[in-house]
Structure formats: C-alpha cells, structure tokens
C-alpha cells in the first residue's frame, strides 16, 4: 500500500475566487427576495430602477449572475484556482438539468409557434444536451454551465423585453392566462435559485465541500422560507384583526376593563358586535373534551405501560390509537353525527360536539402520556417495589408524578389542536352565524333534576351552540355579510381571536416543556 502524493491540509489561496463566488450567492439571494416581493405585489415589475424597468434590471442581474457562474466553472476547469472537483456533477444534478432544459425547450418552441411534435423534439434536444453537459465533463463545468446558461437565457428574455410588463399568454384549454406580473418574478426566483446553488458550489471549491455548501444554501433557504411564511401569516392576521379585536377597548366605567369584542354578542343594537357566545362555546367545548379524553387517555396509558404485558392486546390498541390519530377530522364529524346526535335529542348539540372532540383528543393524550410514562426510568419503579410498596401505590406516588410534565405538555398541545377544529363541530354542534349574547351556553346553572329518566338533564348541553372556528366558517359561507356594522372587520377580529386562543395553548404547552426540561437538568 504505497502512498501516492501527500496533499496539503490547506488549499492555495483562493480569496478572490471565494469572494466573487460569495458575492454571487449574495446577489442571487437579493434577486430571490426581490422576485418574491414582486410575486406578492410588494413591488411592481414595471417600477423604474436606475432608469430602467425593474424587470429589465432583474434580467441584467440574472445575465451577470449566469455569466459569472459559467466563469467560475471555466476558471476552475482551466486550473486558475485550486478546487477539488469530482469527475462528474452526479446523477441528481444531471436529471434536474435535463428536466429543466427539456421544459425550457418545450416552452420556447411553443412560444415560437411550433407544433407538439416539434416542441417535444426541441425539448428532447435541449434536455439531451443539458444531460451531456452536466454528466460528461468534470464537476466544475457540469454544475456551472447548465445553471449559468439557464440564468443567461432567462436574463436575456427579460432584458430584451421578450417577457416583461404587459406580456401575456393564454393557456389554451386551461381557462387561465399568464401575465408578466407573475411570470417575471417566477422566472427570477427560479433562475436565482440555480445561480445561487451553483455559485455556492464554486464557493466551496466544488467536490464534496462544494456540494456541502450548495446543499446547505438550499436548505437554509427552505427553512428560512418556512419561518417567513409562519411569521408572515401570524403578522398578517394580527394586522388585519387588531382593529376589530380592539374596537372599543377601554379602562374604567362600570367595569374595570371594557373589551366589547370579547364580551358582547352580535346584533345591530350592540355598539360593537362581539364574539362572546362563540368564545364561551369554545371554552365549554374544550372543557368537555378534556373531561372526557384526559382521564381516559391517561388511564389507558397507565394500563398499557404498567399493567398490560407487551403483546397482541397492547399492539392492537397501539395500532388503533395511531389509526384514530390520523383519521380525518371530517370523519370524526360524520361519526359524531351518526352516533351521538341520535342519542342526544336528535339535534346538533354542545355535548355532541364535546364528545366528538373528546374522541379526537383521546389518541393525542394517549400517545403523549404513554411516551411520558415510558420515559420514567425503571429504577424508580424498582426502588419503590424494593421498599415493599404495592404496584398501584408505586404508580400513584412515583410514576404519575414523574410523568406529569410530559402528560401536561401533551394535553395542552392536543387541546390547542382541537380548539381550532372546525369540521367535527360543523357536523355535530352547529350554532348561529351571528349569535346574540343570550345565545351563549349557560351550562353551570342549566342542570335540572326530574323524576322520569334520564333523571338529570341540561338544556344548555343539548342546544346547538356556536364556537369560534365554526362561526368563522359560517361567516365565510354567508359571504362575509350580516346584520352587523362591519362584517369584514368582525370576521378578521374573529380569526385573530381564534388564532390567539390556539397559539396561547401552544405557547403555554411549549413553555411548560421548556420549564420542566430545565428543572430536570438542574
């Protein structure tokens, strides 16, 4: 096993090359963000930038990026820089660029008015060419030239105004038309992704490290986009909903705090239409579901992990639990409608909604409780058993207290999930679109005793009741109109209230988890 040549740990100086590639990655990122802004309408592609239209400017940027990327590859291929390219760009890149160039060929040929066969022919030729250019030469050429050429093509189309503001093309048979306003940003997004990835590979000097950098750039972009969507969603709903939610809020007067949106019902007579009945409905719904599902779920988890031996019975329960967990909520709604409604007075009712959501909550509670109980170390049980404590005493005084953090977290997150469910209560609980304050369920004082079966009754539980998610749905189907002053503002306020209620559960659940985890580690 003779050793070939000894390679240096540190590569030759590539500072300039790296800086240029880094700048190209950054510029691609900027182009991506501008493209996104143009897609959502934050900027117009016809806006003037440095004397030209934005679309032309973006085209110039893409052109420059594409040429730069090709340049990186060629510089590495000709040995001007010390990179470590592999013999080929790999099968994934080859397939991807084949697909891209095939699509580009078909589109371009279609735009030039060539028939179907001709289109496919052009696509095949371009796709085959892209495959050859990607797969056959060394990696530094294979992963830059096809990507750079894509960007150059897109850039040319934008710079020359072939595609730009005012451009439109009807999609025959698809009942849709493409406009420059959407196509230009899409082209920019796509091309900047290609150049960004390729420049990132050049930055890493191709080879294993280059691929690492390229992949990381894409993954960071994905995660960044997901978080941006999340923040954007919450911020958007908050911005739209705050006026409605805070309408008429004040301090002092008859009560300490006035918050009419949360304490009023809907109706023309109210100064500010509010969501009080639906809010109370949601609260009772959650209470009912928790009362049913939490003891049942925790009890079942205790039995499964402490009493039952691992076998067919526990296996069957596990499969059933996971099956219930993934059962669509609308199926739970159908089940509630078919099973519960006939047994509770043949109409949509609060208690039917409670139990339906309870059935949905049950698997969530069971799964998390079981995990929490199984996570309690066996030493605790052994230590307790060694002291002669009975099994049940051990469970009650050792296992359950140790499992409480996990169970609590699971229950809170599960409740957050069901509090926002609409489909099941749509079929089982119903309620009005704009209920007046008097429609709020009064469960506590509703219990009646009677001499005939079923001896105990509570009309509040047996009435159709509104809840926040259902009311939002009902408002949407009513076309966002109704007997109130500003239905739009009301609906957004309602959406924000619902979002805040659910996110509060999540925030508390996640905070609880962190609190207990930190306490554990101390």
């Amino acid at each position: 096993m003779s050793r070939a040549t000894q390679t240096a740990l540190v590569r030759d100086d590539r500072t300039t090359y790296e800086a240029a590639a880094g700048a190209a990655v950054g510029l691609s990122g900027v182009a991506f963000v501008v493209g996104l802004a143009a897609l959502v309408g934050a900027v117009e592609i016809g806006d003037p930038v440095a004397g030209v239209e934005l679309s032309v400017a973006l085209g110039a940027v893409l052109l420059a990026l594409g040429l730069a990327v090709v340049g990186f590859g060629v510089a590495s291929r000709l040995g001007f820089v010390d990179a470590a390219p592999q013999p080929s760009a790999g099968v994934v890149a080859a397939v991807a660029f084949t697909a891209i160039w095939f699509a580009a060929g078909v589109t371009a040929a279609g735009a030039a008015g060539i028939g179907t066969v001709g289109r496919l022919g052009v696509g095949t030729v371009l796709g085959g060419g892209a495959f050859a250019v990607t797969a056959l030469p060394r990696e530094d050429v294979g992963s830059t030239v096809p990507a750079g050429a894509v960007a150059v093509l897109c850039g040319l189309a934008l710079v020359t105004g072939v595609v730009g503001p005012g451009w439109e093309r009807a999609l025959a048979g698809y009942n849709a038309t493409l406009f420059g306003d959407t196509v230009v940003p899409a082209v920019v997004l796509f091309a900047s992704l290609a150049t960004g990835w390729s420049a990132a590979k050049a930055y890493g000097g191709f080879g294993a490290r280059g691929r690492n950098v390229g992949a990381y750039v894409l993954i960071y972009l994905v995660v960044g986009s997901i978080l941006a969507v999340l923040v954007g969603l919450v911020a958007f709903v908050t911005a739209k909903g705050l006026p409605g939610l805070l309408n008429g809020v004040g301090v002092g007067g008859e009560t300490l705090v006035r918050w009419p949106f949360l304490t009023n019902g809907a109706g023309l007579l109210a100064d500010v239409a509010g969501v009080f009945p639906a809010l109370v409905g949601t609260v009772w719904l959650v209470i009912g579901a928790v009362l049913f599902a939490v003891p049942t779920g925790v009890g079942a988890a205790v039995f499964l992990s402490e009493y039952a031996e691992q076998g067919r019975f526990t296996g069957a329960v596990e499969v059933a639990t996971n099956g219930l967990w993934s059962t669509p909520s609308i199926v739970f709604g159908l089940f509630g409608a078919a099973f519960l409604i006939p047994r509770f007075g043949n109409q949509k009712s609060l208690i039917a909604g409670m139990l339906t959501l309870g059935f949905m909550l049950l698997p969530l509670v069971l799964i998390t409780s079981r995990e929490a109980i199984l996570a309690v170390p066996d030493e605790y049980r052994d230590a307790s058993a060694a002291l002669g404590v009975s099994k049940w005493q051990t469970i009650r005084s050792v296992v359950l207290p140790a499992a409480i953090p996990g169970v609590t977290t699971g229950v809170i997150l599960g409740v957050g999930r069901i509090a926002g469910e609409t489909a099941p209560i749509l079929l089982t609980m119903g309620g009005g679109v704009l209920p007046a304050k008097s429609a709020a369920p009064n469960v506590l004082s509703g219990f009646r005793l009677s001499a005939s079966p079923p001896f105990v009754s509570n009309p509040a539980l047996l009435e159709a009741t509104s809840a926040l998610p259902y009311q939002l749905y009902a408002l949407i189907t009513a076309g966002l109109s109704g007997n109130i002053r500003n239905p739009q503002e009301y609906a957004w306020g309602l959406a924000l209230t619902l979002l805040l209620v659910v996110l509060a559960f999540y925030a508390v659940g996640i905070a609880t988890r962190y609190y207990f985890r930190r306490k554990l580690h101390q």
Binding site: I219, G299, R312, L334, R343, L413
Partner: protein, 375 residues
C-alpha cells in the same frame, strides 16, 4: 395487521387477562371483587343502554359511579386496575364504532349505486364507474370520481410541497442547525401545526383566491393549485416532526464513522443518515399525505363546490370539490340517499387514510427492528 386479526388479538388478550384475574381471585378480598364486578357490569350495561339510545342509561351509569367511588375509597388498587383497563378499551371501541356507524350509514348509497358486472350486482360500483354526481336533477347519480379526482389533485400538489420541504426542514433541525437555532425553529414549526385550518381557509378565501383570480385571469378564484399549496403547508409540520424523530434515532456512532473517513456532513446525511432513516422518513411523508387527504376546511372554503372533473385532467387552475369539502358543504342540507352518499365519501376517506396509517406504522416498526439489530 388487518382489523380482523387485531380483533382476535384483543379477544385472546382478554382471555389471558381473565385467567390471570382468576388466579387473582384466590388472593383478593371477595368484597373488592364484588365491587369491581358491580362497577364493570354497570359500565357495560350503561354502554349497551347508550347504544340502544335508552333513556334509562343514566341508571347503570349512576350505579357505575357509585360502585367505583365506593371501591376507590376501600379497594383502590384493584378498582384502579379495572378502570384503567376499561379506559384502554375505549380506543378500540371508538375505532370499532366509527367503522360500524359510518359503514352502516353509507349502505343505502352503496345499494343505490349498485352496478352489475357480468350479471352480478356489485353494490357501490356505480360510484366509481361513471362520473356524474347530481343529487337534484334526474338522473340522480352519486359518483365519487369527481371528488376523488379533486382529492388526488390537492394531495399531489400538497405532497410536492410538504414532502421535499418537510424532509429538508427535518434534516435541518436534526442534523444541521446549531442548538440555539434549533430551539427556535422547532417550536416555530410546531406552532405552524397549531394554526387552525379555518384560519388558513379564511386567508385563502379572502386573499389568495382573489389574487389568483386576478393574476391568472380565472373564472372565480378556486384552484387546486393554491388549495394544494395551502394544504401542503398544513401537512408540513406532521412531515417535519415525524421525519425528524426518524433522523435523530439513527445512532450517532454511524454518522461519526462517516465523518471520520473524511466525508462531509452532507455526504454523511445523504449516504448514511437518510438511508438508515429511510423508512421513518417515508412513513413521515405517508402521514403527511394522510393529513392532506383529510384536510377539510381550507378546501371547503377555497373550492368552488361543483362536483365535476376538470378538463384536461391535470388542469390545476380549476378547483371543484374534494371528498372532504363535499361532506362539509353538503351535510345538513342533505337527506336520504344523498346523506348516505356523503357517508360513503367518508368511508372512502377513512379507509384510505387508515391504510396509509397502517402502512406507515408497518414501515416504522420495520425500521425500529432493523436499527435495533444494528446496535
């Protein structure tokens, strides 16, 4: 892992349990046994009473509460064991009841849509053999094909969104992110799971649909394209959390072995971690698909609500109806065979998603076995 075998498993389990209880009898206090029997017997009676919709259900229920309360004070250990066992059966019973009730309700529709093949009448075949759904004008037909087509369109687009993005995000959380960033991103994605579907639907209805209508000059703003993207976003957290669990369960020593050979992080991920966690990751995607199929509210408020198949088939710029939105929109105003047909849609949904769930559980169990053997 079919339902019938889990039934027999359950029965066998109970039998084993019964023999054990019998051994128990000799040691146990006769009074405690009596209490437990009274409590469990009254619970069973109450359940039967409830099934029969009897107004007298309250009586055995009260008896159960009294017997259990008394037993809790006097013979806690035994009663606790019996009660937790009863609670355990609730999941099985619930699943069983769901099956029985939605199947029972859908029978009239299946009968109505019977079609004959080679002279043999096959109930329900008509639902999949023609494309007309019209509950009002003659001929009244309940084909589920248009809705199945819509569900497939939405699910396919949603999977294209949630699959790659979800796996990338899971890789990020499990392998790439520095601890501080992970502590931020993980709860962030959990919160994404918490945003109620009706809020997504509301945004879709008030913002996305008008925008799409404008941007693509559509007739109305309903498109499978954007419903699919919204549903994909909703299925994303499921994919991320399950895939992340699978990725973190790959032993660290394997990754270290790869890194020590000079492979980069990315090479170690794609060549070692992802293949080792492949079954878990595909289970995650399957569960995500299940979520997307079952997603109701966003589809209901964003789609047009016309049971029709788009032309051409893959036209994503139409948005007609999915199985879920059909039920949500139609239930309440429907009756008779029409209502039963909605239950039939529910059966199709339930069976599909249950199969996906069973499939992903099987894959995950296989992965656990394999990795377990590796250690």
């Amino acid at each position: 892992m079919s339902l019938t075998t889990s039934r027999t498993d359950w029965r066998a389990g109970i039998e084993r349990r019964l023999t054990r209880t019998r051994e128990f009898v000799d040691d146990a206090d006769p009074e405690a046994l009596a209490v437990v029997i009274a409590s469990m017997g009254s619970l069973l009676t109450a359940f039967v009473g409830f099934l029969l919709a009897s107004p007298w259900t309250a009586v055995p229920l009260g008896a159960f509460l009294i017997a259990t309360g008394y037993g809790w004070v006097r013979h806690q250990a035994l009663v606790a064991r019996a009660v937790t066992f009863a609670m355990t059966t609730v999941t099985l019973v619930t699943l069983g009841l769901i099956v029985v009730f939605i199947f029972a309700e859908s029978i009239p529709a299946f009968r109505y849509e019977a079609a004959s093949v080679f002279g043999v009448s096959v109930p329900g075949l008509g639902m999949f053999a023609q494309t007309r759904w019209d509950a009002v004008s003659d001929p009244v037909r309940y084909s589920l094909l248009p809705m199945i087509h819509g569900t497939v369109m939405v699910t396919a687009i949603a999977t294209l969104v949630a699959g790659p993005l979800g796996v990338a995000a899971a890789l990020f959380i499990a392998e790439i992110a520095p601890p501080r960033v992970r502590e931020l991103v993980k709860p962030g994605i959990e919160i994404l799971a918490g945003i109620p579907s009706i809020v997504y639907g509301f945004i879709g209805f008030t913002v996305i649909n008008p925008w799409a209508s404008d941007a693509f000059a559509l007739n109305g703003g309903s498109t499978y394209l954007f419903v699919g993207m919204v549903v994909g976003l909703m299925a994303l957290p499921t994919v991320v959390s399950v895939a992340e669990d699978a990725l973190t369960s790959v032993p660290d020593v394997m990754k270290n072995g790869s890194l020590a050979l000079g492979a980069t992080d990315w090479q170690s991920m794609t060549s070692i971690t992802l293949p080792a966690a492949f079954s878990g990751v595909s289970a995650a995607v399957l569960l995500g698909v299940g979520r997307a199929i079952g997603e109701t509210m966003a589809a209901t408020v964003m789609l047009a609500g016309i049971p029709r198949i788009s032309d051409p088939l893959v036209n994503v710029f139409y948005g007609y109806e999915t199985l879920t939105s059909l039920i949500a929109r139609g239930y309440g105003s429907a009756n008779g065979v029409h209502e039963s047909a909605l239950f039939a849609a529910g059966v199709v949904l339930f069976v599909t998603v249950l199969c996906l769930s069973l499939g992903s559980q099987y894959i995950e169990a296989r992965m656990r076995r394999r990795l377990g053997g590796a250690e």
